[in-house]
Symmetry: C2
Subunit: 243 residues, 2 copies
């Protein structure tokens, strides 16, 4: 596939910032200098920098330059970031993952389920309930509804390994957008049944819808995390063109 030049530049700059070649609070080379260095137009450099801004790595200052605001973080817990599967998260957090499939059913969305999940009423769905463990400790209870016609051929065995690997690898599905809501909820009987709650009476809950590259919602998820192993990161920038 066609490698994008702005993405190469983005990655290169990102890596240099992480290595602290460009230290916290220092300025990057100017856009003109970078466009000379990477042998590209200024627009292409600007695009790479824009990415770094949304990552919270740098900040542009009109007339002054681009300052790095990247500080390495120690992350003790299980950090949730972009779009990734449980398996990918576990690997990124250097933990050993295992999954037990507790339920695997085919259902059709009724009005109530449709309203909750965002699917159209009548949509055929595959429901999966899984218990996720890290380093042998059961920490996350995962509810999933997949559109059966998009996520074709799912089996309990695939659910145990990695649904995302299957969807992307076997079906060629391209996962693009994920809308998520973080809340904290009191534990339910089902949570208590599977998770060792260590005295907590609530859970960190991520509820989300996932879309493929055609803009079709193919998944609704609710992940219920034991609080002590949970961390969600975010960078917000205030857009003010005009003011």
């Amino acid at each position: 596939m066609p490698k994008a030049k702005y993405d190469d530049i983005y990655r290169d700059l990102k890596e240099r910032i992480e290595r602290e070649e460009y230290a916290y609070q220092s300025l990057l080379p100017s856009e003109n200098e970078l466009s000379a260095r990477y042998a590209c137009s200024r627009n292409t450099v600007r695009r790479a920098i824009a990415q770094l801004v949304t990552d919270g790595y740098v900040q542009s200052m009109h007339g002054r330059g681009v300052r790095t605001i990247y500080q390495p973080v120690e992350q003790a817990a299980f950090t949730v970031g972009g779009i990734e599967s449980f398996k990918e998260s576990a690997e990124r957090n250097h933990r050993t993952a295992s999954t037990e499939v507790l339920a695997f059913e085919h259902v059709v969305a009724d009005d109530k389920l449709a309203a909750r999940t965002g699917f159209e009423p009548g949509t055929p769905l595959t429901y999966i309930l899984r218990l996720r463990s890290l380093d042998g400790e059961p920490l996350i209870l995962d509810h999933n509804y997949f559109r059966t016609d998009v996520a074709k051929g799912l089996t309990p065995e695939i659910a145990r390994r990695s649904v995302y690997d299957y969807l992307e690898g076997e079906l060629g599905l391209v996962i693009t957008t994920s809308k998520r809501t973080m809340t904290v909820e009191k534990v339910a009987a089902q949570d208590r049944k599977y998770l060792d709650l260590k005295g907590y009476n609530c859970l960190a809950v991520i509820t989300g819808q996932t879309y493929d590259d055609r803009g079709i919602q193919f998944e609704w998820t609710q992940s219920r995390h034991r609080p002590d192993y949970f961390r969600f990161q975010d960078v917000a920038t205030r857009n003010r063109p005009g003011v």
Copy 2:
């Protein structure tokens, strides 16, 4: 200030999508059509659309068009979104806010505090502890450290009203980037003292650093929310140029 054309287009499209003039799952007019309609270049239209993509409003499909994936949400709880003050959040959520200042002190960052907050050791800081109530109910306990040399002239009275109004309005500070981490923590004695916890033994905690337009971190915050009035929203998109 200079209004940006791409931002006008962005706002116009956004409003049309919210009004469902462009319905969920429908296609926007093509980029060429939009550039003709708004009398601008295709680049400018693309920039507006890129904004809508990061907002989770639309999704571009190579060779096909741009599909809206916006679904209106009912939000019962107190939703946290971009960068905004408690006062702004309260207004957006249509609730009446009040604030009680529980502590207001000047301190200097020692090594431990510096490591926790991201400030340099030795930085003079203003510490503020506030109890936030919505519709008369105490729901949030807010810890703030402000760089004293940036947030000059803070007083308890300003802390009671709105520090952000003061910083932006009086000092002309431009708040730009905010890095946040969401966790769930067990309640501490201090939380219990001020908040009516309704049986919850944990809190939703947002910890964050805020930077001004010069890339200077001027604030460290920890907001401790009673769980039932808390909701955090997020849209993630998977960037895959090249693949």
